[in-house]
Homo-oligomer: 246 residues x 2
DNA sequence: GTCTATACCACGATAGAC
DNA sequence: GTCTATCGTGGTATAGAC
């Protein structure tokens, strides 16, 4: 955050330094314990700042959390959109294949996961958890900061998959973001359910995202469900018959 | 809990009634606000009980939360396993098709979503959120209460998809549970990102799960990723090829 | 402008009276 | 089995020092 030249608005001691230290300490502690379980007293102690400094610089614990998310999330989503724009430019007016679009969504997350200086995989876990958090302020924040990226990718997918009804596409994008978020948020304890040993690929987020890409693509391009089938008769009816509807 | 006959251990006033009222009130409030954001004072006030009653009957707020989850989750997972057992019996030794296995996972959730008396869709949302919660006690609880069901379904999927390497299957089951949990946990605010109007299918959890089924099946049966090593070598391959990660 | 000390109320938990 | 009182900790607000 601080370059070689100290901002004019900063005091002799580097006023913004306190704000930056709080941000870094908050990020580390939020990643480790989550939002609710992290106290402002722990954050300010780790940052070597006074308790009231959080309220002065950020306004509240909630706004501090938003600042922590915003610092990494906005650049990542901008990178996603930039990658997609590049793909569309290379395609010269023709639709970008769906697998390339999926890659453009995943790659920036992959890059972030590999960069410890920007929080690395731990930040993605924090982000994934936030995506399922019921707190209204978090939901509002994510709506705003994801909306543009999602809208952009929905257009790209719509062109790549012209036979997929628009509403179905909306749902499947919803499922994709869910699988992506939960995978990133996944904890070792949950992986234990699936008997994935940490000594295997558990700690390798790159392999994780590489495995996730074909899964998401397969789901996105799956045959449509027959929504007119009567539910509940599992014993007699075919489970999920393929074939187009609507 | 209470049948026509009052338990001997209950007092004249129905001692267990207080416990049951707390459980119901806690479920409703946890569903609405989540675990951390719900106070014991709010729960006991809604249940017409004293604050200390929670600690007496359940031991702690955490154990109360586990009791709320356990009451609905265990029967649902038992129903899943029972459905799968029935399918395997009908198949008479032959592998159950993957789409049927997916149905057996989803149907009990569907039934629960349609039953307001058991919490309905709101309980599934609570469950979905818990699946991504970083709190250690929640992770431990879910590991225990999901393990048997997951192991059982992993076996079924392994037989239905013999060409899918075991480790890949583990990962894809992980993705499936993520997409399922997140979808169930999805809030109206997050759906707004995807421009899914409540007047459409937003409020219809049945249609939601029926749309989810083909998505999960498509992901599960998707072609393998190119991980720069032969898929057959994945079992016991020592090296982790690309990227600096951990 | 930046930072500190301090007070305030709500929270989860628990000991002890009834 | 239930209740009151109380403890330590949480987020927040503010007056005032530098």
């Amino acid at each position: 955050m601080r370059g070689a030249v100290v901002s004019i608005s900063e005091g002799r001691n580097g006023a913004a330094a306190t704000k930056a230290r709080i941000l870094d300490a908050a990020e580390a502690l939020f990643m480790e314990h989550g939002f609710e379980a992290t106290s402002l007293r722990a954050i300010t102690a780790a940052a070597g700042a006074n308790l009231a400094a959080v309220n002065y610089h950020f306004g509240s614990k909630e706004e501090l959390f938003e600042a922590v998310l915003k610092r990494r999330l906005d650049p990542m989503n901008q990178r996603r959109v930039a990658l997609l724009t590049q793909l569309e430019h290379d395609a010269a007016g023709r639709p970008v294949p769906a697998d390339r679009v999926v890659s453009a969504m995943i790659m920036p997350a992959l890059e972030l996961a590999r960069d410890p200086a920007r929080g690395g995989a731990n930040f993605l876990r924090l982000l994934g958890r936030a995506y399922a958090d019921p707190a209204p302020f978090i939901r509002r924040f994510l709506s705003v900061h994801y909306a543009e990226m999602i809208a952009r990718f929905k257009e790209a997918f719509a062109r790549a998959l012209p036979n997929l009804p628009r509403r179905e596409l909306s749902w499947r994008l919803h499922f994709i973001m869910g699988a992506l978020s939960y995978t990133l948020a996944g904890t070792d304890a949950l992986k234990l359910i699936h008997e994935i040993a940490p000594s295997d690929d558990g700690g390798n987020d790159e392999l994780l995202l590489r495995r996730l890409a074909p899964f998401l693509l397969g789901g996105l391009t799956a045959p449509l469900a027959d929504l007119d089938e009567a539910p509940g008769d599992l014993d007699g009816a075919p489970g999920i018959p393929p074939g187009p509807s609507r």
